[in-house]
Each structure stands twice: as C-alpha cells, then as structure tokens.
C-alpha cells in the first residue's frame, strides 16, 4: 500500500508529554487520547463482563440462586449498555485515535481539544449510568432497547440513565465528526482516498453512520423523557401515541449501530491479514465499496427486528430481502480475506490468529443472522436464546476479537516492545475455545424454545445452560491474560520492537520508530 519516502519528524515544540495527571486531563495529543480511550474501554469491558458473570451464575442452574429477577433484568440491561457504549465503541475510537492520524500521515486529529472533550465526557456518562444501580428502584431493567411502556416503570434512575445516554451520544458524535474532518482535511496531500488503508476507510464510513443515527437515538430517549415527565404521548397509546413507533425509531438507530461496532473490526482484519499473509489485500477497491454498501443497506433493514410486531406482508418481504442482501457485500469481504491468504506466505502470530478466528466465527454469526432474516422463521426464533447466540457471535468473536487483533497488532508500535507471543497464543486459544463453549450451546437453547431475558427456566434447558456458564466463566477469566500481557509489554515485554515490527507490515505507521514518537508527521510524508 503506502510507504513513506520521508518519515522524519520535526520536534520544534512540546516534544515531551506533560508530567503527572495534568498530562491525561488536558492532553490534546491523539496518542494520549487513544490510550485513555483504550484503558477506559478495557475497564468497562471488565465491569460489563462482571455483569455477564452474574447473569451466567444465575443461569448456571434452573431456579433462583443469587439475584432477584428485577436485579437480573438490570444486569442484562446494564451489561448491554456497558458493552455497546462503554467497551466496544470506545475501543474502536481508541484504535482510531492512535492509528488513523499515523496511517493517513496527519500530525494529529483535526480538532484536538474537541477530541479531549469527547473522551472526558465518557467517564462522567458511565459514572452516572453505574450510579443508577444504587438509586431507588434500581438501574434500568427494560433491556438495552428501552422499549416503552416497560421502560417508563424505571424508578429514580430513569432521567439519569437518559442523561448518561445523551452524554454518550454527544461523545460519539463529536468523535465521529473529528474522524471525518481529520481524514478529509489532514491526510498527507499525496494520499488520495483510494490510496488510504482500509482501517481509516472503514472508520470514515462508520463515522458517517454515527452522525446519522446517534441523534436518532438521542431523539428517541428524549421523547421517552418527555413522555415520562412532561405529559407528551409520543409512545403512549392512551394519549394518541404509539409504542411501536419507538421500536421503529430505536431500530433505525439500532441496526446501523450493529455496523458501527463491526465495520472498524473489518478494517482491523483487513490490515492484519495482508501483513501475516505477506500479500497485498485482495480486491482493495471492492473492500471499500463493500463497506459502503453494507453501511447503506444498514439503513433500510431495521424492521427485521420487529417482524413479530405485525406489519404488512409487503413490509415483511421488503425487510427480509433487504436484510438478505447484506450477505452479498459481506460475502465479498470474506471472499477477499480468504483470497488474500491464498498462496500467501502465512505465519500465525497472535494478531493473525485472532483475525482468522474473526473470519470464521463472525461468519457463523452472519449465517445465523440470515436464518433470523427469514420472516416466517423469525416468528420461531424471535426473543429466544438463538438471537442471543447470534448477536454474541457477531459482537464477541466478531467485534471484540477484531479489537483484540488490533491491540496485539499495534501494541509494539505503541509501547516499543514486543508482547509475550507464547502467552498471546494461550490467550487466543483459551478465548477461542471458551467463546464457543459459551455461545454455541445458546443456539440449541433458543431452537428448543428458551426465551431470552429470564432468570429461571424449565429443567429441559439445564445442561446447555451449565455448559454455557462454564464457558462464560472461563472466557471471562482468560481475558485477564490480556491485561497481564499488555502490562508486561509496557514494562518491556520480550524485547525491543523494530519500526516495522512485522515482516509483512506496510503503511505509514510502520515507517515511524517504535514506540511512535509523541508527535509524528508534522511534515507531511510522501506516499507512493
């Protein structure tokens, strides 16, 4: 792809980062802010993961063991909100902050102060959200979809939860705007859009998705707020409103949100696979157009989440076929990743292993998505554990493995040291085995009729639930290895990393030393 003819840097001012806590509070440096996002995301991943452990502990056996049903519902709701808005999205923004400016040859993000602000909103938002667990009536418990009228029964937590969602939305929109204007204005002048690596490309498209749909979510929750406190009836049938309208508005946001969480993972994998296959990415332009097609289609499929609500047959057919259409550009991507590996000089370092697992396991999630897209079949699967299995395959070995692949891939560039490859492989194998032990049995539970969001279940579901819970505990515990590996790498790992780090790595970020200097590309590099 692109190489730099001149990777020299000018160090005229602010060569070194500030000392102490002030560095992190007031930083406008994209690398510092990337680091903040990534640590914040990992913290949320652990908290959201702990909530998942509560869920799996309760479901280990039939009957009520540990928590009351209301708290269980709070756990499913909070787990989802924490993982979606606190773990996955900030992780990708962190990767974007670190890597996008370096990959496009920019000295920093275009709007560094706004970058600082968009990060520091997040700890405030999540502190508010977590504090709702200690309020009268408990945390929100209506599911992350926040459907009325159920969600309007939330106690004192309700306005706080809505406010925290507004803050998360504001943070995401500012982050997205920053990424768009950085890519559009700060790229090295010699880097045309179609010379840009795939990770910035997928992020550019994701950022447009964010700008289009986060305000829709903000609008939806604002309407919930006015229905609850200001006497409006947007979603109240008694006042002439329609609760189903909320579902339409929510999923107009919610479905593109799924792609917001997966498109940057596609970008990471499209960087990792060519590096370890030692070949150029197969079908670069097709990859770009496929990403854009997926983003477009994500806006016209939302009602597949609502087949059982009741809609005209023509509507069901449209949303069914539009959903199935997404398999085409997704298939293009999977084909191109496989074609990139074809006859490549493959090696299997940890980032590549996670990227390969991504391709296999995300595809499983994609196929179960196709099953769910079939409207008449969806009447059987809807609200069952099959849906839980489907979206967890997309989000855990999909989005989360994409993040982990990116972390291992770029960690030597960030720290200047190589991580422990043996432990990385242990982390990979434990994660990959147990993520399947955790989620694969949930397909069978769903097909056998187990509903989602229940703390107790019929004894016929006992065995698969126990297997799934064991997988969950082991998967959760294996993630502590990642924490250890990252800390070990920061402390020196297994030795110094070279500038290129990986033999097959190409692109501007690999032309700067490891660790990347505090300021890079203050003189725009030349791109071939």
């Amino acid at each position: 792809m692109s190489t730099a003819a001149d990777a020299s840097h000018d160090h005229d001012h602010h060569d070194e980062p500030a000392k102490g806590i002030g560095r992190w509070l007031f930083t406008t440096n994209h690398k510092d802010i990337g680091t903040l996002y990534l640590w914040f995301s990992f913290t949320m991943f652990l908290i959201g993961g702990a909530m998942a452990m509560v869920i799996r502990a309760e479901l280990f056996q039939p009957g009520l063991q540990f928590v009351d049903p209301g708290f269980f519902n709070s756990m499913t709701t909070m787990h989802a909100l924490m993982m979606v808005f606190g773990a996955v999205m900030p992780a990708f923004v962190g990767l974007a902050n670190w890597m996008v400016p370096m990959m496009v040859g920019a000295p920093d993000m275009a709007l560094p102060r706004m970058n600082n602000f968009s990060f520091w909103i997040l700890p405030v938002a999540f502190t508010i959200l977590l504090s709702t667990m200690f309020m009268p009536g408990g945390a929100p418990a209506a599911g992350w979809t926040l459907y009325p009228p159920l969600v309007l029964q939330t106690g004192a937590a309700f306005p706080f939860a809505i406010f925290s969602i507004h803050l998360m939305g504001a943070s995401s929109i500012m982050g997205a705007i920053n990424i768009i204007v950085t890519i559009m204005n700060m790229r090295a002048p010699s880097m045309s859009l179609l010379k840009m690596p795939l990770f910035p490309w997928t992020w550019l498209i994701t950022a447009y998705l964010l700008i289009a749909v986060m305000p829709v979510f903000a609008g939806a929750v604002t309407m919930l707020l006015t229905d609850k406190f200001f006497g409006t009836s947007f979603f109240n049938a008694a006042g002439g409103g329609d609760p189903v309208l909320f579902q339409h508005v929510f999923w107009f946001f919610g479905h593109p949100e799924v792609y917001i969480m997966i498109l940057p993972a596609f970008g990471v994998v499209s960087q990792v696979i060519p590096t370890f296959a030692r070949k150029k990415l197969f079908g670069y332009e097709a990859m770009v157009y496929a990403t854009a097609s997926i983003a477009f289609l994500s806006f016209i499929v939302w009602a597949h989440h609502m087949f059982t609500v009741g809609m005209p047959l023509a509507g069901e057919l449209f949303f069914m076929f539009a959903t199935m259409l997404i398999a085409v550009p997704t298939g293009v991507k999977v084909f191109n990743w496989v074609a990139t590996m074809w006859k490549g000089s493959m090696s299997f370092e940890t980032p590549m292993l996670f990227a390969l697992a991504f391709v296999f396991l995300f595809t499983i999630g994609g196929f179960s998505g196709l099953m769910l897209a079939i409207a008449p079949a969806d009447f059987q699967y809807h609200d069952s554990y099959f849906v839980v299995a489907h979206f967890h395959y997309v989000l855990v070995p999909g989005a989360v493995f994409g993040i982990i692949a990116g972390v291992y891939y770029w960690l030597p560039k960030w720290t200047g040291y190589m991580y422990n490859e043996t432990m990385g492989k242990w982390h990979f194998w434990l994660s990959t085995i147990f993520v399947n032990v955790l989620f694969f049995p949930q397909h069978f539970l769903g097909l056998a009729g187990m509903p989602r969001r229940i703390p107790d279940y019929s004894t016929q579901f006992a065995d698969f639930n126990m297997v799934s819970s064991i997988g969950g505990f082991c998967f959760g515990a294996s993630q502590l290895l990642l924490l250890w590996l990252v800390i070990d790498c920061i402390k020196g790992g297994t030795g110094k990393a070279t500038a290129q780090v990986w033999e097959g790595a190409e692109g501007l970020e690999w032309t700067v030393p490891s660790p990347a200097p505090y300021h890079t590309f203050q003189t725009p590099p030349q791109v071939d």
């Binding site: 000295p107 709007l111 705007i177 204005n185 305000p215 829709v216 609008g219 329609d242 309208l245």
Partner: protein, 48 residues
C-alpha cells in the same frame, strides 16, 4: 527552502487545513442536530 522555512510552510498549511476542518465540523454538527429534530418532529406528527 531552508528547514525553518519548510516547517513554517507546513505549520501554516496545517493551520489552514484545521480551519477548513472546523467549518466542516460545524456543518456536520448541524446536520446531526437536524436529524434529531427531524425524528422528533416526525414522531410528533405521527400522533404524539
């Protein structure tokens, strides 16, 4: 051109690009707010 002159030119260019970025960011922010209002007004028109 001297190294100093080159650097000045680069930093000017960057400042110029940041100004363009700010203008675009304001437009994107307004578009974003527009979506928010559009959906609330549309939902209101639907019966709320």
């Amino acid at each position: 051109m001297s190294a100093q002159g080159q650097q000045l030119t680069d930093s000017d260019a960057i400042a110029q690009r940041r100004r363009a970025a700010t203008r675009q960011a304001i437009i994107l922010g307004l578009v974003s707010l527009g979506f928010l209002l559009l959906f609330i007004l549309r939902a209101g028109a639907a019966g709320g």
